[in-house]
């Protein structure tokens, strides 16, 4: 069971309290009704599913109930860092080589 740091509660809590909510930084267009088929496909269906570093959303559902973002390595399962919803993708990851 992983330990996940909730950026709102500011502490590590067991995985049982959280739920994954899919890839992060997938922006819903302010003019979604006018989006092209291609753009909507990218927004709704296409996901990166990388081997390695993934940016994803989690919810501290059995805690503060907040959604937040996390950087996780899909190979090691390790959380690199977490940050609040709405914050930009971190430019630099802790421990990353350059």
């Amino acid at each position: 069971m992983l330990l996940i740091r909730c950026p709102y509660c500011e502490e590590e809590r067991p995985e049982l309290e959280f739920r994954n909510a899919g890839e992060a930084h997938v922006v819903r267009s302010a003019n979604i009704a006018g989006e092209s088929d291609d753009d909507f496909e990218k927004f709704f269906f296409i996901r990166a599913n990388p081997k390695g570093v993934i940016y994803e959303r989690w919810r501290h559902i059995h805690g503060c109930a907040r959604f937040f973002n996390a950087v996780r390595d899909t190979v090691t399962d390790k959380f690199v860092m977490t940050y609040k919803a709405g914050e930009p993708k971190p430019a630099k990851l802790p421990g990353a080589a350059k």
Binding site: M1, L2, A33, D37, R59, A65, G86
Partner: protein, 997 residues
């Protein structure tokens, strides 16, 4: 009287405390502190089981958790018959009853042993070859036979009466393994004040100190030192010492699963003791001190009872005071077996000969053995063992061939060397590295905050082990906030050290031979099988493993993996690391389902939710159905009524007079705030801004892809307050969906969401008399049609308690839903029931509710929709706000496939024969005469007998359904094809006049 093979003066058990037990219905006497294995050996019993595939007689290989052979069934009573218990681990208690397994009719005469003679049929990969043809035989012949033959023990056929405990624990330093290394690490960490947990799978701590007679630490015998150290640790408040506790799984971030055997060793555990306890430990640092496991020699008939690991024989002697024979042979490729020969010789057992594969080994143990007058043969091999139910001799030959010599023995003690136990390290995702010099895999790259010490780290010698372990314990505690206080490091005065040995088949069992030289005892895999797998094209060890099943038994190849790997590597002509080591997986040793499940079974398996009226409904004889976690009243049968009759009566009475229905399980969410209407506009397809306070609207929620996600009636209580209802099953996910959008896509909206499902009990009162039933109890609400039309909501009081009174209908009749605080639910229900009785109203359950709504063509999301249905498909286009520029799903709705012609649409179906009720889920075709497979154009989603219509009714999703009105379609069923007519979805009161009736 002492048992025949108990050596007086040897071992650590008190001879005074005897325990009687039975094995295969024969009575024996053992001593308290014995394992079942040591007690049987004390009585001269070696034959304890039959092997899995060939039914070969088997005895004890080991004295510990790695045991592959000596699996027995322990029987306490009818419900407690535990199969596949390792006799080497099971502690003896007075009255213990054990039976051998996999034999019929008896252990000594086993019919299944014919497999041994027919063994060419069962060679490597036989599962994949033998049972392929003909096809029918798999189902009728092979599978039943294999199932009957497979599995060694017999499962109990009654529910497990024991209970299993579970605990979470946190510590700074978790030490896995309580041998010399683990104890030293724990001592170092404990002194600094951090929380330490020390766990060992054995009943007694000490690990190999139990048999290493040569070890001396801090001026005392090694085992005595271990006992004193454990006593000291137990007395410390910051240390938890767990014996009989196996670390079986190493998970992410130093989360380790331990299982403690609490009462399997007790005669009468009593109800208050759990059988086992699951510990889920989160540790800041883990010290892995899991030791090493001795390997057997791979030679012909190395599985005969009496052939065992040298260290096992030593354990039985030095700890349990039991000689495993009177005239033993030793076969070795390293030094450690000499120590066994020496100890046994000193205890008065004749050591017939030591056979050592090495040409010119030298060292103190060899000198000592020679000084004791033991015959030593260098450069020779044991090429086979004789004897069937018990070994009777060993045949010795120069390792490069030559004259054979047969030496009578009643036991053979063997040692091919020691394999570091890297299981837990590997489970932690650490990568092992192959040491080419010592020919062993040792911890290489670490993935977690752990450290391996002692024999599991490839560290040889007691002195080096204690040094390494003590330093690791000190560092782990220092890194996690321990004080700088130093304790005295244990001082090793004397210790044993051995390394090296051999891997793979010994001479006489190598390439070109077909003898039964076992690599994996539990799965009956021989050296020849592994070579054959390579010949048949298995070049990766993972393939060899699956083809031969080497290492795949419950012992997970603790003794066999390295041998199997070496034989495959030799056959492939590749170095060992290139062939690769198979993955170590949890559990390290078998774990019971009971310990994993813990208390989560029976009534505690899953929560049960009951509504406020549950007790009343039960007292009325309601039959309940499970809807998610909820218990819902399904129907209320009167005397003599079956379900069909009860539901018919309930449906008719509701339309004729009225009925009461508990709708409390519907999800309820309060959407509050200045931007509440804006939020509703975005989450539902309908327009909300203009909905007047006090009015309701049927809302549809979509996912972004345009498919229906949920529905429900929403009432506007105030400009900034909506009372939203959801489906019963959808309540949690709708709440999550709303929160998701509110927090992440529309955080600018000033809105709060509160789940109020459990705050309000909901009593639906439906039917022409519904207003007459409710009105006498209501205060402060004008319930006239003018003041309170269909689809409106009022707040006031009923029976003196607050109510949110909805006028709405899921039956098509004039109807109300009375929301009251849940604590008053039952009282208000009873008051309404009393009023209803005056008019002849009925209570109705979920089945009647389903029929009544289907009569009106009202859909149930999740039954008439399946996640691929749009509002248009369901005939609900009117609920989509055409002028809206945004809502969740607006873009998905206009995807090409969702606006294409020929989509499945919801329609009504009437069977040509009105008495025939279709099956829900039945497929629909246009032409019943077409060849199979037919083109299926839809399926039945809802189907009932409607007493109100005097016929069956159904809803169905049919391709282009609304263009097929009046068409005849067909529902092919096993007993014939049913003709149906496509109709509209409303079967009762098409104009909707009864809403005000």
């Amino acid at each position: 009287m002492s048992a025949a093979f108990r050596i007086s003066g040897a071992g650590r058990l008190s001879q005074a405390k005897t325990a009687s037990f039975s094995f295969d219905d024969k009575s024996y006497t053992g001593i308290e502190g014995d394992t079942l294995a040591s007690a049987l050996l004390a009585n001269g019993v070696h034959l304890v089981g039959r092997s899995f595939k060939y039914h070969r007689p088997r005895g004890f290989l080991s004295a510990g958790a790695e045991e592959p052979n000596a699996l027995v069934q322990i029987v306490r009573d009818d419900a407690r018959k535990t199969p596949n218990v390792r006799a080497t681990v099971q502690e003896l208690y007075d009255g213990l009853t054990a039976n051998s397994q996999n034999r019929w009719p008896s252990l000594a005469f086993d019919v299944g042993a014919v497999n041994d003679i027919a063994s060419p049929l069962f060679s490597a990969g036989f599962y994949y070859k033998t049972f392929m043809w003909p096809k029918w035989a798999w189902r009728d012949l092979y599978e039943p036979k294999i199932r009957a033959a497979a599995g060694l023990g017999v499962s109990p056929d009654k529910p497990d009466p024991d209970h299993y405990a579970a605990r979470y624990a946190h510590c700074e330093v978790l030490v896995l393994g309580g041998g010399a290394a683990g104890i030293a690490a724990a001592l170092a960490a404990a002194e600094t004040g951090v929380r330490v947990i020390l766990a060992d799978e054995q009943a007694e701590f000490g690990g190999s100190l139990r048999f290493e007679s040569g070890a001396r630490i801090d001026g005392q015998d090694g085992y005595a030192w271990a006992r004193a150290a454990i006593a000291k640790l137990k007395a410390m408040g910051n240390v938890r010492v767990l014996s009989r506790t196996t670390a079986f799984g190493y998970y992410a971030q130093n989360f380790v699963g331990l299982v403690e055997r609490v009462s399997d060793h007790l005669k009468n555990p009593g109800r208050e003791l759990a059988r086992e306890r699951l510990w889920q430990v989160r540790a800041k640092r883990v010290v892995i001190a899991t030791g090493a496991i001795e390997r057997h020699m791979v030679f012909a008939n190395n599985d005969r009872p009496g052939v065992m690991l040298a260290s096992a024989a030593r354990t039985y002697l030095n700890h349990y005071g039991v000689a495993v024979g009177r005239n033993v042979g030793v076969y070795t490729a390293n030094d450690s077996a000499y120590a066994a020969a020496i100890d046994l010789n000193k205890a008065g057992v004749n050591v017939a000969a030591i056979v050592d594969l090495r040409d010119n080994p030298a060292g103190p143990v060899i000198d000592e053995a020679r000084a004791l007058g033991i015959e030593i043969n260098f450069g020779r091999a044991v090429v086979s063992a004789s004897g069937k139910l018990r070994v009777s001799s060993m045949t010795v030959q120069p390792k490069n061939g030559g004259g054979e010599r047969t030496i009578p023995v009643d036991a053979i003690l063997m040692s091919a060397g020691w394999t570091p136990s890297v299981h837990l390290f590997s489970q932690s995702r650490g990568k092992v590295a192959f040491n080419d010099e010592t020919k062993r895999f040792v911890p290489g790259t670490y993935a977690q905050d752990c450290v391996s010490v002692g024999a599991c780290n490839g560290t040889d010698g007691l002195d080096a082990t204690i040094d390494e372990a003590y330093a690791a314990g000190a560092k782990a505690s220092k890194d996690t906030g321990g004080s700088a206080r130093k304790s005295a490091k244990p001082k090793v005065d004397a210790g044993e050290s051995w390394s090296r040995g051999m891997l793979g088949a010994a001479p006489g069992a190598g390439p070109g031979t077909t003898v039964k030289a076992f690599v994996d005892f539990q799965n009956d895999v021989t050296a020849k099988d592994i070579r054959q797998a390579v010949h048949e094209g298995m070049h990766s060890i993972e393939h060899v493993k699956r083809f031969t099943t080497n290492g795949m038994a419950t012992d997970q190849g603790k003794t066999s993996n390295m041998h199997g790997l070496a034989i495959a590597a030799e056959e492939l002509g590749k170095p060992i690391p290139q062939v690769g080591l198979t993955t170590f997986r949890a559990p390290y040793t078998p774990v019971t389902f009971g310990s994993i499940v813990g208390h989560a079974r029976g009534a505690l398996f899953d929560p049960t939710r009951r509504t406020a009226t549950h007790g009343w409904a039960a007292s009325q004889g309601a039959v309940f159905e499970d809807v998610g976690h909820w218990k819902r009243a399904w129907y209320f049968p009167k005397a003599g009524e079956d379900m069909h009759k009860a539901v018919d009566r309930e449906c008719v009475t509701v339309r004729k007079v009225g009925g009461l229905f508990d709708a409390s399980t519907l999800g309820k969410i309060e959407v509050v705030g200045p931007d509440a209407a804006k939020f509703m506009e975005l989450l539902y397809t309908n327009p909300w801004e203009k909905l007047e306070t006090g009015r309701c609207r049927y809302g549809i929620m979509l996912r972004e892809d345009g498919f229906i996600y949920d529905d429900g009636v929403v009432g506007r209580l105030a400009p900034d307050r909506f009372h939203v209802t959801t489906t019963t099953g959808g309540a949690p996910r709708v709440m999550n969906h709303m929160e998701d959008y509110l927090q992440t896509e529309f955080p600018h909206l000033n809105v709060w969401l509160t789940s109020i499902t459990e705050q309000w009990a909901v009593i639906a009162v439906q039917g022409p008399k519904s207003r007459d039933i409710i009105a006498p109890l209501v205060e402060g609400i004008d319930m006239s049609d003018e003041a309170m039309p269909h689809m409106s909501v009022r707040e006031g009081k009923i029976c003196g308690v607050p109510t949110r009174l909805f006028r709405m209908s899921f039956t098509g009749e004039r109807g109300f839903e009375v929301n009251v605080p849940a604590d008053y639910g039952e009282a208000v229900w009873e008051a309404l029931w009393a009023e209803g009785q005056k008019h002849g109203a009925t209570a109705y359950g979920t089945e009647a509710m389903h029929v009544l709504r289907a009569e009106k063509g009202y859909i149930i999301v999740g039954q008439d929709t399946d996640g691929t249905v749009t509002p248009n498909d369901a005939g609900l286009d009117w609920a989509v706000g055409k002028k809206k520029t945004d809502f969740v799903g607006i873009r998905g709705l206009i995807r090409p496939d969702l606006v294409a012609k020929g989509r499945k649409q919801l329609v009504g179906l009437k069977t040509k024969d009105p008495k025939v009720v279709l099956e829900e889920g039945a497929q629909i075709v246009a032409d019943p005469k077409q060849p199979i497979p037919m083109k299926m154009i839809g399926h039945v989603t809802s189907s009932y007998w409607s007493e109100n219509c005097g016929r069956s009714i159904a809803l169905a999703l049919v391709a282009g359904g609304r263009d097929r009105m009046g068409q005849t379609l067909y529902v092919p069923m096993p007993n014939g094809t049913i003709e149906v007519e496509v109709t509209g979805m409303v079967f009762v009161d098409e104009k909707g006049e009864r809403l005000n009736g």
